[in-house]
Subunit: 330 residues, 2 copies
Amino acid sequence: MVRVAVDALGGDRAPEEIVAGALEARSPQIEPILFGPPGLDTGGLELVEAPERITMDDKPAEAVRAKPGSSLVAANRAVGEGRADAVVSAGNTGAMLAAGLLEIRRLKGVHRPAIAVVIPARYGASVLIDAGANADSRPEHLVQFAHMGSIFAEEILERPNPEVRLLSIGEEPEKGNQLVLEAHALLRESGLNFKGNTEARELLRFAADVVVADGFTGNVALKLLEGTIKELLDALREEISATTRGKLGGLLIRPAARGLRSRLDPDTYGGAYLLGLRGLSVIAHGNSSRTAIANAIRLAARGVEKGVVDRLSERMVVDSARPGVPNQAR
Amino acid sequence: MVRVAVDALGGDRAPEEIVAGALEARSPQIEPILFGPPGLDTGGLELVEAPERITMDDKPAEAVRAKPGSSLVAANRAVGEGRADAVVSAGNTGAMLAAGLLEIRRLKGVHRPAIAVVIPARYGASVLIDAGANADSRPEHLVQFAHMGSIFAEEILERPNPEVRLLSIGEEPEKGNQLVLEAHALLRESGLNFKGNTEARELLRFAADVVVADGFTGNVALKLLEGTIKELLDALREEISATTRGKLGGLLIRPAARGLRSRLDPDTYGGAYLLGLRGLSVIAHGNSSRTAIANAIRLAARGVEKGVVDRLSERMVVDSARPGVPNQAR
């Protein structure tokens, strides 16, 4: 039985959709525990009282310090103290990172936790890491991201010996900014199944099992992907509904379009892992529906069942001979 | 009459589509001059003999030095020597940059030339700059990119007092990597119509008249945008044609889809400006069709008619009190 601490006050549609999602995810294997205000109707799920709320506009580090009794911080603390196996929140991403560092703490050997998100590419799912936990990174951080992403790909996407590529502005090893050039050289020596650079145009096609980027580039890429998909489908719908003929055509292609939409729907995975902590943390979209929350909780539980944190912990033992680069012992 | 030097050997579809595009662009106002091998059938256009070819796989700086007689280098030289007003090539981007620096040379005060590309956003065209001329940039370079992009927006997109935004991972001024944070502070003092940061999800919607990024991020963003549009439309077509019902619907929505496709088609603008040189340089897509080449030549001619280089030259006079930041005298 996996116990998942759920922040009932996180996200634009809290608490109703969060509670509904938690109820949907409840199963013989999964026990969601809600963190929220006294009196919240949880439909029978366990409630841990945590009345304060961290908003999307709060400054993350300040808010986490100032509101130790908030639902977000309390849910993280439950994982840190072993009362839950994983935490899920659709709240403030920066606050999830700050609370995770404070309450769950980094795994030994991890320089920087990173966000791993599943990209629903056309020819198979990819992991993009770091999708935004770190605004600035050093080359050795990118190598750790690659290791963490590989474990994600092995355990969650079930890819043995996952292929790793580095997001750059050309496939050739000499293409990229200074950070990418140095990371490329380190990745070649990392013992990972590193296949070189990939270009952003491949991301939605299928670039690799694991696509590594610094958190700034990764976040730009993720938001651009999401925004472009949304704008394009919206624009297409607008053009189609401008004429009667188009409207009829639109009705006929609806089932086909629905298949595509469901593949691309962020709700399908529900959330992104924050990897590198001593417990599992899943960050869901701010506007998560109950389906997204249920899937985020299931994603968290899957990570626990697969022992993702233990696998990371084994891999992240720092090789003392090469600071910053985890060894390949496993 | 604007004289445009056209590299007849640049691009995947050279020389046929290049020559055809040049013929299409010829007008009482525009005189294309082709640079290519002896005997090339130019349909009556002037031919300057330049038999060597720089390929897409050539290392840019080396190739430009090793092949001074190549069509790409010779076309750039024609601009440097005043025999043409602008150059257009669908060839190797890095070689266009190297040849431009060598043969056309930087404008006084310009630290780094940058690539300005038009993004066909839903609510109006935007300029993205730098879309990939520089793998690494400093904050003061981004300020110059913003100035160059503003002149592009004024003259080519006809936006008086164009709005400038900086591509980052959040709209708040404190969101971004170190480069963006420093550039943000400089842009506030730049005298430009700077409105703060924008997120990548806005890019295809409409983020600003001018979106500024370092060349690495800008290139990742541009390629991701192009790749995502292509993958999404391909996937939709595939889903639709999987069923008879879908196929019929597809026929009915075709005119609507065509409108969208034509807005998003890179051929519509034909190319990107390489700005910051003492002459105009337009880089077209490697797989440019004749239409793309014709539009790229027209884009080059428009820049000449509008005096883009003179406007840049005035703006780029370096303020000696603040090295690297152009003054606002104009």
